[in-house]
Amino acid sequence: MDSITTAASVVAAGLAVGLGAIGPGIGQGSAAQGAVEGIARQPEAEGKIRGTLLLSFAFMESLTIYGLVVALVLLFANPFAG
């Protein structure tokens, strides 16, 4: 792998994780805030709120995982390496 490809891969990996984690991070924070507020106001619905929060977190975090996987593939199994 030549040096330009290596440098571009490392920069792209960093951007993939960094930019890919912004949106899910904001979304997870806002969802957790809403869930904790909901549990505090309505403790009898805690099970349902936690279940919905778990499913929402799994969907949101998969976006981070996509970015992470792209970054790891670029770093450890780069298809553009000579």
């Binding site: 997870q28 957790a32 869930a35 904790v36 549990i39 403790p43 009898e44 805690e46 099970g47 349902k48 936690r50 279940g51 929060l53 778990l54 499913l55 977190f57 799994a58 969907f59 975090e61 998969s62 981070t64 995982i65 992470l68 996987v69 790891l72 593939v73 450890f76 199994a77």
Partner: protein, 139 residues
């Protein structure tokens, strides 16, 4: 009259209130555990189905990679569920430990030639169809 007095006493007895709140918390956590078990069961069924299909069409190596990926996806979901279960009680944030699972999966499958990367990643994502089915079947 006597029963009315007993009812009045019990409604203001703090000990009884605490007991009922503990009981309702157990019921709520049972509901949450039941949801997790349903998703795990669905994910296991999808894993068995997909591993069989992959083994039939693409061979034992792709099938083994898919199986390892699916197991790590289920483990990832278990860690995420534990983090969400702790939220608001013993922790204020949801931990990020579960994100180490896909990292380790990619590292392991890129280091070992017996494993393929793409089937392992597809297997890891098998928990998502289980989640979608569970989400659609929720009342």
């Amino acid at each position: 009259m006597a029963s009315e007095t007993v009812e009045n006493c019990s409604s203001h007895d703090p000990l009884l209130d605490i007991d009922s709140s503990v009981l309702s918390t157990e019921v709520k956590s049972d509901e949450y555990l039941e949801l997790q078990f349903r998703v795990f069961r669905l994910a296991f069924l999808l894993t068995i189905f997909s591993v069989g299909i992959a083994g039939f069409f693409w061979g034992i190596q792709a099938s083994a990679s898919l199986f390892i990926g699916a197991l790590s996806g289920i483990f990832y979901f278990r860690l995420l569920a534990r983090g969400v279960g702790r939220l608001g009680t013993s922790s204020k944030i949801v931990g990020k430990v579960q994100l180490l699972v896909p990292v380790l999966l990619v590292l392991v499958s890129s280091r070992f030639p017996q494993l393929d990367l793409i089937p392992a990643l597809l297997g890891f994502l098998l928990y998502k169809p289980a989640l979608i089915i569970q989400f659609l079947s929720m009342p």
